[in-house]
């Protein structure tokens, strides 16, 4: 079957190369049948890549250890779910996932725009060009279909990856990373065709939102995986690979805001194509970081030959994008200007500057070790204080702007009108801040500011809904007629929950560590934890040792926890099994880690009490709901767009 996989990948390479070359020729020479043929090649490439993916999945399901990839990533005793998830557990498989998602998205984008061959004429070769790189890598540099005599058993899977979140987190991130290729390809296609109208924006609006949503959800799933699996008590460690997913998300967030200014005011055309290109380049950079192993990370694979290839491809994409944007600058000049620095579009602009500044400072933190290695020969890296400083410097103003933006009118706002709209949210946030200060929350200034600003944003969102409902007559009519705006507000509400959750669980958390013998207790933030006993049990592919901890609060028993460790004999590796009590009253967690278990039964117990941490996860659901509201098709707008483009051969 490996031969079929290899053949399918070679066919994919041939097809996407045809889409690149044939599509370029067709767009250049205005050949209709050749353009359609190039589109078909892109769609067919999805079929052939799907066959290659099916071959790998079948090999994994059958535990066919004659496939080198299968032998390196699973063992015979690994549960089936994790065995199948090994598809994206290794370098070759995850590259195949990239190509599968890319060709799938490309096929869908081409099919959805099949009645507009002109619109996709230059988009097809751009998509083909990106796919050629990944197909080439899979065929000649890092193939998942190498075979060798089958060993008695496979090497197994890293215990940290044996977690249900690993079934969803990587594919979700890939759907986001790769999804950013579509707006990039449409934007570059429009520039290549010398078109400066907004059709590329209309065609990719939902693609961008969907990719951004997947990337956001993927990061939250990854954060929850880190929280329950890695066992250090946090959910985000500014790890380079975590940052790699955050950077394109920030760039895409900036784009989602600034594109509204182009749609409403015809401004920021250059800035928008720059942001689309930046988001795509950062998504490639994220893949490079994960695949190349150039930076030590809990996520990255071992040193691989991919680094140079990826870096080369990123350079090509950056040079291509910059050159094309530069050449088309005369076509992208805006005819309107910002009327006032106190207007909705101005707040969007400030938000854009802060988002891009945050993304670039994170990028600097990520590449700094590489640069010091290249210049001095010694690796120096930046750590949490660096990132925390910039998160506070850019993140807190961003949070505040999220509340200010909706209260300011488009074009210009007078001081009198501002005073009227700001009064309630400002008063609410000041009262919140003062009350929190009185309650002792001043121990952390960033935490107090995050809570106060969150109160301001929450009040402004509620006020927007109340005033909007009054003007529209009903909440359903209000949201139905302004889905993007009110979907956006729901997403803002999710960010407020996230900010409160992060501030509560990091700035106000309690950490206690103690060695305990059976029967002994320790206290942490009002909870008493009593170590009762130690036990072992055999799992399918691991041996687990866990303690039994009784948790009480105010004398009442609230939970029994089982922190421990698991030993994986095939992988010759152990994992920390944390145990968590979700307190419904505080929306926080009592998080226990068995740091050490001695032969005599002594337990080194680490306890973290993390207030409000569950708001971080709740934010994920609100975020998805808001994104769906914003993405939901609007029949009135669809009719308007159909009428707009009716007489144009698109």
């Amino acid at each position: 079957m490996a031969a079929l996989g290899r053949a399918a990948l070679l066919l994919s390479l041939g097809l996407v190369a045809y889409a690149l070359v044939g599509g370029s020729l067709a767009a250049w020479k205005r050949k209709r049948r050749l353009a359609l043929s190039a589109q078909n090649a892109l769609i067919a490439a999805f079929g052939t890549t799907l066959v290659a993916a099916a071959v790998l999945w079948i090999a994994l399901a059958r535990r066919d250890l004659s496939f080198v990839y299968v032998a390196q990533h699973i063992s015979r005793s690994l549960p089936l779910g994790y065995t199948l998830s090994a598809f994206w557990g290794g370098q070759e498989g995850s590259l195949l996932l990239w190509l599968l998602v890319l060709t799938g998205y490309s096929a869908l984008a081409v099919w959805l725009n099949r009645r507009s061959p002109e619109l996709v004429a230059w988009t097809v070769p751009v998509l083909g060009g990106v796919a050629v790189f990944f197909a080439f890598m899979l065929c000649f540099v890092s193939t998942p279909f190498a075979t060798a005599p089958a060993p008695a058993d496979g090497a197994g899977m890293d215990p940290a990856l044996q977690n249900p979140y690993m079934l969803a987190h990587p594919p979700m991130l890939y759907l986001g990373y790769v999804g950013l290729t579509i707006p990039f390809a449409f934007a570059m296609g429009a520039l290549l065709a010398r078109r400066t109208d907004e059709r590329w924006i209309v065609a990719t609006r939902r693609w961008t939102l969907a990719a951004w949503t997947f990337l956001g959800v993927g990061q939250l799933l990854g954060a929850h995986w880190a929280y329950v699996e890695i066992g250090w008590g946090g959910y985000y460690a500014w790890d380079p690979v975590e940052n790699a997913a955050l950077m394109p998300w920030l760039a895409a967030t900036a784009f989602l805001h600034s594109v509204m200014i182009q749609e409403k005011r015809g401004m920021l055309k250059v800035w928008n194509v720059v942001l689309v290109a930046l988001a795509f380049c950062l998504s490639l950079f994220g893949t490079f970081l994960t695949r190349s192993g150039v930076i030590n990370s809990i996520h990255s694979f071992t040193k691989s030959p991919l680094g140079g290839w990826f870096l080369g491809f990123i350079v090509v994409v950056v040079v291509f994008s910059v050159a094309l944007i530069y050449l088309r600058l005369p076509l992208l000049r805006a005819r309107t200007k910002l009327e006032s620095l106190v207007s909705r579009e101005a707040t969007f602009l400030y938000n854009n500057l802060l988002l891009v500044a945050l993304a670039l400072t994170i990028l600097w933190g990520v590449v700094y070790p590489l640069l010091t290695q290249a210049v001095n020969g010694t690796t120096r890296s930046v750590s949490k204080p660096y990132y925390d400083f910039f998160l506070h410097s850019f993140g807190l103003p961003l949070l505040l702007l999220m509340g200010i933006g909706p209260l300011v009118a488009w074009r210009r706002a007078s001081l009198r009108a501002l005073g009227k709209t700001f009064a309630v949210p400002a008063a609410f946030s000041v009262v919140t801040g003062v009350v929190l200060l009185a309650l002792g929350f001043g121990s952390s200034v960033p935490g107090l500011l995050a809570y106060t600003f969150s109160a301001f944003v929450a009040a402004s969102i509620v006020l927007e809904f109340v005033r909007g409902r009054r003007a529209a007559g009903s909440i359903f009519r209000l949201v139905g007629r302004n889905r993007r705006r009110y979907g956006g507000y729901v997403v803002h509400a999710a960010v407020v929950l996230l900010a409160i959750g992060i501030a509560g669980s990091s700035a106000y958390q309690t950490i206690r560590e103690q060695s305990l013998k059976p029967g002994q207790s320790m206290r942490a933030a009002g909870y008493t934890l009593t170590y009762e006993s130690l036990g072992t049990r055999q799992l399918q592919n691991a041996q687990q040792t866990s303690a039994t901890i009784s948790v009480t609060r105010g004398g009442s028993h609230v939970a029994t926890l089982h922190p421990g460790k698991s030993w994986f004999p095939v992988e010759q590796s152990s994992s920390n099994d944390v145990s968590i009590y979700h307190d419904p009253r505080s929306l926080g967690d009592v998080y226990t880690i068995a740091d050490g278990i001695a032969r005599n039964g002594t337990l080194d117990l680490k306890v973290l009490v993390k207030p409000l941490v569950n708001l971080v996860w709740a934010a994920g659901f609100v975020f998805v709901f808001g994104a769906l509201v914003a993405m939901w098709p609007d029949a009135v707008e669809q009719r308007r767009l159909v009428e707009r483009y009716a007489a144009v051969p698109v």
Binding site: L4, R416, E464
Partner: protein
């Protein structure tokens, strides 16, 4: 191995057929030109976008006024130019204006 090769061959044939389909369906080269918006169509599209932008801006202005974000004075100052812009774009999109543009385009 043989089964894999047969499957690969079937896949290759299917891919070639898919790629060649536009040429097989239309062997004639008579209608092989990929349409491209002409100057008039580009102008019309630009006007349609301008019209939609002006109408959207008017809608936003009304909404901002009703929700108290725009004072009465600002509203009166902003609504006139926006209405004019929308009216100009609508007038320019009328068939007679389009025909005039076409004539000007041809003669110019």
């Amino acid at each position: 191995m043989t089964v894999a090769l047969v499957l690969a061959a079937v896949l290759a044939v299917a891919a070639v057929v898919a790629v060649a389909r536009p040429f097989l369906r239309e062997p004639s080269t008579a209608r092989d030109r990929l349409d491209e918006p002409g100057e008039l169509e580009r102008r019309r599209l630009s006007l349609a976008e301008e019209r939609d932008r002006a109408l959207l801006a008017l809608k936003e202005l009304e909404f901002d006024h009703r929700t108290g974000k725009i004072s009465d004075g600002d509203y009166r100052r902003l609504v006139g130019p926006l209405r004019r812009r929308a009216a100009e774009a609508l007038r320019a999109l009328e068939p007679r204006a389009q025909a005039r543009h076409a004539r000007v385009g041809k003669s110019g």
